[in-house]
């Protein structure tokens, strides 16, 4: 089941100039490529969430640079890039009473759309989405996006 999950890197950042530049620079030096990225902000601070090609290395690089960072399992849901897909996925989850903590999406060059989603019951979500024939990304997909 773990292979149907992807590792997301989250890090704590104060909401002030230069923070993102610093993080991006660390990734550049380490040759880490970001696949999906979002910032959630709450006033003085924000949480940066990322899907990258080398999550373990990204974690180490950021941790060693003194950042507060964590690795979380999330789902990468493959969607056709057409209307109604997000509604369908959300339906599948809500039928099983699974809550979405947060989500963000992006479109790839293969004309698929990907939804990165953290849920309160990740195993339940994998089962439900499998049952609905929805394809989930694994880490090799992330590499090859």
């Amino acid at each position: 089941m773990e292979e149907k999950m992807i590792k997301q890197i989250s890090l704590f950042a104060e909401n002030k100039p230069g923070r993102l530049a610093n993080i991006a620079e660390k990734f550049k030096e380490a040759g880490i490529n970001i696949r999906a990225f979002t910032i959630a902000e709450a006033g003085d601070f924000g949480i940066i969430r990322m899907v990258v090609d080398e999550p373990d290395m990204a974690h180490k690089v950021l941790h060693d640079a003194g950042f507060t960072v964590s690795e979380t399992n999330v789902l990468g849901v493959e969607m056709e890039d057409i209307p109604g897909q997000l509604a369908m996925i959300a339906d599948v989850l809500s039928e099983k009473n699974i809550n979405i903590d947060y989500a963000y999406a992006f479109v790839t060059k293969t004309e698929k759309a990907f939804l990165i989603v953290r849920v309160n019951d990740i195993r339940g979500a994998v089962k439900a989405l499998d049952g609905a024939n929805v394809r989930l990304l694994d880490m090799s997909d992330v590499h090859n996006i």
Binding site: F12, R49, D64, V69
Partner: protein, 434 residues
């Protein structure tokens, strides 16, 4: 291991001890009246003559001495001996005003070292120990004071002074330091630096004791340090005007023993100057009974404490001053409420998600005081859900409010963004212009 440095003195019955004090007080008053124009003038102004001081209770007839007196008579106007009798000067940093100069005769340095040797013995530190001294050497009394005391107690001293942290950690391992003496802030800094280099204080060093002081720290901070390093952490007390580092807790870790044959302690109400009732908190006032170069009469230390004459379980009869987390001049008044940084520390250190460093920032916005506390979180407590972090801020704010009785805005900041200190840590930024 020896239990007492000088059992006869350290276990002397209290009434005998008080007789010793009485005799020394009478001699001292005569001595300063004869040798210090400053004190002669002070006593004359207060209408008190040396012959008026016959018993310990008469001490309250004597006027107080303040730090300001040392500043007003800068550099050596209060000294009782000429320069050719001095063996050393120390000078304060002057961070809170004009620096103060203190001087020592040979006997003063010996009495100072003895005081610390007794204290170190009381925490089981002595001949078999390698003590690494990370207090600053030089004009600051911490480094050299500790150095002489540790040598007197029989330790092998590693005088690293403060700074150059990587080398400190390397030497600590290579030379097998068993005792570290430094500020609690600097110890935290070292622990963090060691951890970043993959070195654990617990597993990779022989450290067993920390002698920590020169700044206020809380019982909760002690627990954190002891748990994360496996050492026993002891509080040390002293101030440059008295000599420098002089006294520590004993192994009971319940108050700092003040050697009553060398120092006379009073606790007073800081506003009225009257002695407080036994067991009540007040301002510490100390009279040096044996100093030659710069004796101090009823010196207002500024620390808020409680005096405890109960016999300690260690068997020592000398009184203890109990930890109350603050100095009169560290106290912040926020919206009319007294706040000690030590109280804030004590609340924060009880919350496992909160890291060791914090900063208090006080501003005045539209005539209203706003107090903000910045904290770092422990990495293990980091959740990537915004709500969890906002809940943590609220939880810390509520805990502070319940103790301080004022609303505090809590701000999570990035790991490493709050200042680390190799000496005395600055924990308050007061932006109010009053």
């Amino acid at each position: 291991m020896i239990e007492y440095w000088n059992p006869q003195i350290e276990r002397m019955p209290v009434d005998e001890l008080k007789k010793v004090q009485e005799q020394k007080l009478c001699q001292l008053v005569k001595y300063v009246y004869e040798h210090s124009p400053f004190y002669r003038k002070r006593f004359d102004e207060a209408g008190v003559k040396p012959e008026d001081i016959k018993t310990l209770d008469d001490v309250t007839k004597l006027p107080f001495t303040f730090k300001q007196d040392l500043r007003d008579t800068y550099p050596t106007g209060m000294f009782c001996v000429p320069n050719n009798k001095l063996v050393r000067f120390h000078v304060s940093s002057g961070t809170t005003g004009k620096p103060t100069v203190v001087g020592y005769t040979d006997n003063d340095v010996k009495a100072w070292s003895t005081s610390l040797a007794r204290a170190l013995t009381s925490i089981g530190v002595g001949r078999d120990d390698v003590m690494q001294i990370g207090y600053g050497y030089g004009l600051f009394t911490g480094g050299l004071g500790m150095h002489y005391g540790a040598e007197e107690a029989g330790c092998t001293v590693l005088p690293t002074s403060s700074g150059n942290t990587e080398r400190q950690i390397e030497l600590m391992q290579d030379l097998g330091s068993t005792v570290i003496a430094c500020t609690p802030s600097y110890l935290l800094f070292m622990i963090e630096a060691a951890r970043d280099a993959g070195i654990s204080f617990q597993d990779d060093t022989k450290l067993r004791v920390g002698v920590l002081g020169a700044e206020p720290w809380s019982e909760e901070m002690r627990k954190r340090i002891e748990e994360s390093t496996g050492i026993k952490a002891y509080d040390i007390f002293g101030t440059s005007e008295l000599s420098g580092p002089l006294f520590t807790e004993c192994q009971s870790q319940n108050g700092i023993h003040i050697w009553a044959d060398q120092f006379l302690v009073e606790v007073i109400n800081p506003e009225t100057g009257e002695p407080v009732a036994n067991g009540e908190r007040g301002e510490l006032v100390i009279t040096t009974l044996v100093k030659e170069a710069l004796p101090l009469i009823r010196y207002r230390i500024g620390d808020i404490t409680v005096l405890n004459w109960d016999e300690c379980e260690c068997g020592r009869t000398h009184p203890r001053i109990m930890r109350v987390l603050g100095r009169a001049d560290d106290m912040l008044i926020v919206r009319g409420i007294n706040v000690f940084p030590g109280q804030v520390e004590s609340v924060l250190m009880k919350i496992p998600e909160v890291g060791e460093h914090f900063m208090i920032i006080v501003d005045r916005v539209n005539e209203l005081d706003i107090m903000k506390v910045q904290i770092e979180m422990n990495e293990a407590a980091f959740s990537d859900k915004i709500n969890d972090l906002m809940d943590l801020e609220k939880k810390v704010g509520a805990a502070l409010k319940s103790v301080l009785n004022i609303a505090v805005k809590v701000e999570l900041v990035e790991h490493g963004s709050l200042p680390r200190s190799m000496g005395k840590a600055k924990k308050v930024i007061d932006n109010r212009k009053i």
